[in-house]
């Protein structure tokens, strides 16, 4: 058991740090959830990609550095410590790409991954529907067979980034007669600008269009954009949930950097006693999350999957993120009410954490049933 990095790993860290020192924009970019900010963040993705820093853990042929999980963790620590912008490509990179690596075809990877790495194509997810949230398998949007492909119809919602994104991926019901709800689903990718797609942005709590509703009316999708076999969408969508994705959705580096900034803010405000414990707990929580990820990465490298343990992760980081930002706003006192600060932007973002990517209630059910072995019951 050790926490020592190799010379090569340290050299990689130093190279990343030097590049970021040089290139991270001095002034923060405008909010990612605005048209102007989205464009600025997309340009930043291209700048990262030009020097192969946008997807370091991907194979070189798709724009990465074949870095492996440990270097990815180190890169993320450097990235957030440098105060670099939020990642507009996050949905595609952490949700779709692992599925393509696992279940996609060579042709799909060659076509989809390079423009994802550069930010040229930004992906939104299309999972939830008005009647299918936590009970995702009850979704009703249809994929109907047609010549050379499928026609998608239905209503998707809470589609993050869809207001400005280019393409989307999600599950559609291709066999309405399948005996069980999670059977007969197909995993598809589609163009948000295709005929038949209507995108209606939804203002999140602060009014910014962070997500959207998608209305689909016989949207044609070629067979090439089906991932895996038709009817096996549920298994395909879930198969990567317990692997890297459980680890990579929110990297420890993000919280380590935010916790350190919170400590600095606390000091600047003369170290008030009323937030002493919460600032300490944030620092401890960020360190715990980092070490938990190091252990998970070590296990992953030995061929073990993270499995339902990723539910521990999800609850932990989402609650840590919220507590961290709440503490910052309390520290700022009257200034904490201002909506145009980095802390308030982060706060509004963190409020959604316990809801998306599987609500924390669903995660606690998974922990209780799959890690503790408690009997299934009514939700």
């Amino acid at each position: 058991m050790d926490l020592a990095f190799t010379q090569d790993e340290e050299a990689f860290r130093a190279e990343a740090r030097a590049w970021l020192m040089d290139r991270v924009p001095r002034a923060p970019l405008p909010s990612l959830e605005t048209a102007e900010g989205f464009a600025a963040h997309r340009a930043w993705e291209a700048e990262l990609a030009a020097d192969r820093w946008s997807v370091v853990n991907w194979p070189r042929e798709y724009g990465g550095r074949d870095s492996g999980l440990i270097r990815w963790l180190l890169f993320e620590e450097e990235y957030w410590a440098a105060g670099a912008p939020g990642r507009v490509g996050q949905n595609g990179i952490s949700l779709l790409a692992p599925t393509l690596f696992d279940q996609g075809t060579e042709e799909q990877r060659a076509r989809v991954l390079p423009p994802m790495a550069t930010g040229e194509v930004v992906w939104a997810q299309a999972w939830s529907e008005p009647e299918a949230g936590s009970d995702l398998a009850s979704l009703r949007s249809r994929a109907v067979r047609t010549d050379g492909g499928w026609l998608l119809s239905g209503h998707k919602t809470w589609s993050s980034r869809a207001a400005f994104a280019d393409r989307a991926f999600g599950l559609f019901r291709s066999d309405p007669d399948a005996p069980k709800p999670h059977q007969g689903l197909t995993y598809l990718m589609f163009d948000l600008h295709a005929p038949g797609v209507t995108v209606r942005p939804i203002g999140r709590l602060d009014g910014k269009p962070a997500f959207a509703e998608l209305f689909l009316d016989e949207v044609f999708v070629p067979d090439d954009d089906v991932i895996g076999k038709p009817g096996e969408g549920w298994r395909i969508a879930m198969s990567t949930a317990g692997n890297e994705r459980g680890l990579m959705l929110r990297s420890p580096g993000r919280f380590l950097a935010s916790a350190e900034r919170l400590r600095q803010l606390w000091r600047r405000e003369d170290s008030p006693q009323h937030t002493h414990d919460r600032v300490a707990d944030t620092l401890i929580g960020a360190r715990a999350y980092q070490l938990f990820a190091y252990a998970a990465a070590s296990r992953f490298l030995e061929g073990e999957s993270i499995g339902p343990k990723s539910s521990l992760n999800k609850v932990f980081w989402s609650e840590l993120d919220l507590a961290l930002h709440e503490t910052a706003l309390d520290l700022l006192d009257g200034e904490g009410e201002l909506a145009d600060t980095a802390w308030s932007e982060g706060y509004v973002f963190s409020l959604a954490g316990p809801i998306y990517a599987g609500t924390n209630e669903i995660q606690r059910d998974i922990i209780a049933e799959r890690l503790l072995g408690l009997p299934k019951g009514r939700r």
Binding site: M1, A4, A288
Partner: protein
């Protein structure tokens, strides 16, 4: 970087667990709480034979140490089985001697072998099990002193922890003692013990809610029950890497972070365990009480939550 216990460390944990399971520790705890140390001393010897105390003692004095990671492994198991006695204090006493000295030569070998049992406390604070400890050390402003005796027992909320004031005076052991070093070891061992206590409480409560039936179904099928246990699991699973990370760095801030987190996780798990067991959990007779009481006591042993958080915040601006 491989932040996982290796096969040997896992085997060490498994063998301690097997030995302690076979030792029927709950009855040892109850004997110890009554002041009957016979079964506890026998268990102490077996723990020493397994090499636990040697992990804190340098090789030149008959030990294998210092090996904080293995100590943490061992103390998780000791906590899981609610083993009584001045375990933490014995490790901390050994950690007082970082330099060769005549006193180290005299005191350390019997600690490593299990022939001696040490307790230590700050002057004016209570020392654990001072009646049975053969080496009683008072941390005075002049340095650590071997005290000649102790006052009357004071009951602890954990009946297995018997507390005593130490007598004043006695031989001054070293002039410039690494008290900080000893304290860090005490905190690490306490954090590990607390994590083990929390794990035992969670395991026992999960077993209970699976078999306890109300309204015709196991109470463990209710979401209100599941979510409390899920939160306990989260708290314990994130305390574990802090513990082993601290054992690797042994910086005061890292160890303090592990201490406050493990103790709070164990205490929160104790509250959940008590609530989910209902009235039976609130009885002294039921064995759950052995761990419930310890979870409370360990929170304030060797640095309470406030002191630990102070250390974290004063730990310097390093990037973790």
């Amino acid at each position: 970087m491989r932040f996982l216990l290796d096969a040997e460390q896992l085997a060490f944990a498994a063998s301690l667990n097997a030995m302690l399971t076979a030792a029927d520790t709950p009855s040892v705890v109850r004997d110890w709480s009554r002041g009957d140390h016979t079964s506890g001393r026998a268990l102490w010897s077996r723990i020493a034979d397994a090499g636990v105390f040697a992990l804190a003692v340098p090789e030149e004095y008959g030990g294998l140490g210092p090996r904080p990671v293995e100590l943490a492994v061992a103390f998780v198991e000791l906590g899981r089985h609610a083993v009584p006695g001045p375990l933490v204090e014995t490790v901390a006493a050994a950690a007082l001697f970082t330099e060769p000295s005549p006193a180290a030569g005299r005191l350390l070998p019997p600690l490593a072998s299990g022939e001696a049992m040490a307790t230590l406390a700050y002057e004016g604070a209570y020392a654990l099990d001072a009646d049975v400890a053969t080496t009683r050390i008072s941390l005075t402003p002049d340095g650590p002193r071997l005290t000649p005796g102790h006052g009357p027992v004071r009951p602890s909320l954990d009946p297995a922890r018997r507390l005593f004031p130490l007598a004043p005076g006695g031989e001054l052991l070293t002039a410039a003692p690494p008290v900080e070093h000893a304290l860090t070891h005490a905190r690490l061992a306490t954090a590990a013990q607390a994590l083990g206590v929390g794990i035992a409480l969670l395991d026992r409560t999960v077993a209970y809610v699976r078999q306890r039936t109300q309204f015709g179904v196991p109470i463990g099928s209710f979401q209100a029950v599941k979510h409390r246990l899920a939160d306990a699991k989260i708290a314990l699973e994130f305390a574990r890497p802090l513990l082993f990370g601290a054992a690797l760095t042994m910086t005061p801030a890292d160890v303090a972070a592990a201490k406050v987190t493990a103790c709070e996780a164990a205490y929160a798990t104790a509250r959940t365990a008590l609530q989910l067991h209902g009235a039976i959990g609130y009885t002294a007779e039921y064995d759950l009480s052995l761990w419930l009481a310890k979870a409370r006591a360990l929170r304030t042993a060797w640095g309470g939550p406030q002191e630990c958080r102070d250390l974290v915040l004063s730990g310097g601006d390093r990037r973790w």
